[in-house]
């Protein structure tokens, strides 16, 4: 018998080919369970200390905010039933929901809100997201059991968006005092699901909160399994070993869609993608040069071919899914005009430019960057294209002007508050330049006093209609100044099991299972 053993593999493969049509794993579904296959392990299930999407996704199942986002990023009542802002815009008053308890039985009230916000604003022990609150909030006061007042020194326009940010989720003071740093492994909130367990490297298990104040979830248990390989996630989905997989690449959609166990959701997300320019380095300090680069690239083709149509050519420096977005203008593909502008700017044929991108992390980033390099060569530039590993890349595109060699670099921005302020201020305000000893997100060293003024105005205006007008003007200035090479927005593609209904899909790149249910079989 032994001598046949080596051939068992080969036989199995042959058998497989023969039985391929009728094979397939057991596809019965436990209708009480929903399994997410996530690409990386969450880091800390502590609202103000999480910084990546997968962790935020889990956190939002466990916690609630005073104000929450709906599927279109509108602000809706969460743990606050209503709110108002004083005439001068300096005091926000939130009326809290009564009769809510945390998963550990602690009652939810104004003290819990004050505790949560005070903890975040403690500069002695800052959280990873303290800067979303500390600079704008002066003092938090529990007026009575179910009323909280937030005082600022200056009016703060995007207050509601910041309250709705995952970092602003209200935590159980009792649980936090008990666990301290370990709170992130034993999170306690008021959300639709309770934390059960976390097996390192494997999965996080949540269980339905039967006392939930909102709509009761239908599915009893949600598991988040971390599966780093895309192909493995897809196989698990086809086998029904997982039911939801996020961040599906456009070129995988066709194959997944053809499988009877899988369906696809395709919706706009709030991120956008572009090449930043070093606006201080000649000739990038010449707007004609920057515009020429924008005219030189066929964005439509990039979206249609490399993103397989799962995207949209950008017409502003903010994606439409964000509050405050205004459609401005997309530079059409016009190589003639690009050549003209280059000539005007005095750029000789064969002028050397550097184009950088990370080697992964973003959908089709290398293919797109390669294509862009090609387009730029077509208008007579000599492009040196280079890719870098992410950890190295973020370093060399974030260093100060004196130290940097960057010229054009691929990057994306998805404002986690879904608001124009966070979408624009950290990116284009001249005080946000990276400096020696101080980091900043204005990696393009863009500076325009008019833009600065509008950014500041939008921030301190409490009237939301006025803010919209301000941001429209701001976006117009930015697009005309072209501090970046505008590319596109990429859709959020999610693959999930057939028979699964009502997943909640947020443009923030998140998927929630608290309204989901399985069809009767």
């Amino acid at each position: 018998m032994k001598k046949y053993r080596p051939f068992m593999f080969i036989m199995a493969a042959v058998i497989t080919l023969v039985f391929a049509a009728c094979g397939g794993p057991d596809s019965t579904i436990d209708r009480d369970v929903l399994i997410f296959a996530i690409h990386n392990e969450p880091d800390r299930l502590d609202p103000p200390n999480q910084t990546d999407n997968t962790t935020e996704d889990i956190v939002r199942h466990i916690f609630n905010n005073l104000v929450e986002f709906d599927e279109y990023l509108n602000h809706i009542p969460g743990l606050a039933v209503s709110w108002e802002v004083s005439e001068d815009g300096l005091t926000w008053i939130f009326r809290l929901r009564e009769g809510v308890t945390f998963h550990d039985g602690t009652p939810f009230n104004a003290d819990a809100v004050k505790y949560t916000l005070d903890r975040m604003m403690d500069l002695e022990k800052p959280t990873r997201r303290t800067s979303l609150y500390e600079p704008f909030i002066d003092k938090v006061e529990a007026v009575d059991e179910y009323t909280i007042s937030i005082y600022s020194e200056k009016p703060f326009g995007p207050m509601l968006a910041h309250m709705a940010h995952a970092a602003g989720a209200i935590i159980s003071p009792t649980a936090y005092k008990k666990s301290g740093e370990d709170f992130s492994r034993n999170p306690v909130g008021t959300g639709p699901y309770k934390f059960v367990s976390w097996t390192a490297g494997d999965r996080v298990v949540l269980e339905r909160n039967d006392d939930y104040w909102g709509t009761k979830p239908k599915i009893k248990r949600i598991e988040f399994i971390s599966v780093p390989e895309t192909s493995s996630r897809m196989i698990m989905l086809q086998n029904r070993e997982a039911h939801v997989a996020l961040n599906i690449a456009p070129h995988d959609v066709e194959m997944l869609e053809a499988h009877p166990n899988v369906q696809i959701s395709n919706k706009p997300a709030n991120g956008w993608y572009y090449f930043g320019f070093n606006n201080q380095k000649p000739p990038y300090n010449d707007v004609r040069f920057r515009r020429a680069l924008n005219y030189a690239v066929d964005k439509k083709k990039l979206v249609d071919v490399l993103l397989k149509g799962y995207g949209r050519v950008s017409d502003s420096l903010l994606a439409p899914a964000n509050w405050g977005y205004a459609p401005i203008f997309s530079y059409p593909y016009d190589p003639e005009k690009a050549r003209e502008l280059l000539k005007e700017a005095g750029i000789p044929e064969g002028f050397k430019v550097k184009l950088w991108s990370p080697s992964g992390r973003y959908t089709a980033v290398v293919e797109v960057s390669g294509a862009v390099a090609g387009y730029l060569r077509d208008v007579g530039l000599d492009v040196e294209y280079q890719t870098y590993e992410w950890g190295h890349y973020i370093d060399i595109i974030s260093n100060p002007l004196e130290e940097t060699e960057r010229e054009m670099f691929y990057i994306a921005h998805a404002p986690s508050t879904g608001d124009a302020d966070w979408g624009i201020r950290p990116m284009y305000h001249s005080e946000e330049w990276p400096m020696p000893g101080k980091s900043g997100n204005n990696r393009y060293f863009y500076s325009n006093p008019r833009a600065d003024a509008l950014i500041e105005q939008g921030m301190v205006t409490a009237n939301q209609d006025k803010r919209k007008e301000i941001y429209e003007e701001l976006q117009r200035i930015l697009v005309e100044d072209a501090p970046v090479l505008m590319l596109y927005e990429i859709n959020q593609i999610i693959a999930y099991s057939t028979g699964l209904n009502d997943l909640t899909i947020s443009p923030l790149g998140l998927v929630f299972g608290y309204n989901a249910y399985w069809s009767e079989q």
């Binding site: 032994k2 990873r128 493995s232 950890g391």
Partner: protein
Amino acid sequence: MNYILRRLLHIIPVLFGVTLLTFSMLHLIPGDPAQILAGPDASASDIMALRQQMGLDRPLAVQYVDYLKGLAQGDLGRSMSTRRPVLDELMDRFPNTLILAVAGVGVAVLLGIPIGVLAAIRARTMVDHAAMVLALLGISAPAFWLGFILMMVFSVHLGWFPSAGYRSWGHLVLPAFTLGTGAMAIVARMTRSSLLEVLNQDYVRTARAKGLHEVLVIAKHALRNALIPTTTVVGLSFGSLLGGAVLTEMVFAWPGLGRLIVYSIGIRDLPVIQGAVLLLALTFVLVNLGVDLLYGLIDPRVRRE
């Protein structure tokens, strides 16, 4: 006994060298942990706070000495990303990697030795050639390729085993085969060649002349001697399977040490990488010591004392 003690003492300078090497290498590679961890849209103050919190604002030498001090007290520091003690992070994963490596070695030994024996006793026949071609394929097949092929065949089409994840013993089968195949091929080739050598020895001829059954000749006389080089190979491959399970762990979402290391390198979680490398080095050294001691059991001539 003395010998073992001396060997154990040798481990200390080895581990010290490992810490110095990993520490300096990790600080040579570009990338700022605080910047990566805070996310691309983090504010300046968030990043500064993180840097301070993680102690990255201190001089390198101070960081290293503090690390060594902690190490002497069994404290490997805290993970920058999860803020948990590194030892907890490692111990959550290490048993899983150990299980996988043991299963991989199991596959290598249980399949590799019989194949090697078969090839040796049918040397230069079709069986031999087929076995050796198979072994060559086994050495050449990369884990991410083999893993996905096994997954497609045995999970998607046949539905015999679950694809990826970590829940039941069934989840162990495909990763163990993926991991063990390379070592199996090496074991098979080693067994074949050393058995062929032994089969020409006088004492084997004597055994045959005594009229012993061929099975007994091979099993009792020839194989015992032939297995000494094989043992070395198995021991060495166990060490490399521990460290080399990375790809297999990625493909099968196996919550082991390799995956932790890859992830930690991506986010520059320095204390975790240092701790993990140290742990792997320690295991490797201990396994080698174990193999050396095992010689004595198989071959009394090697016995010390």
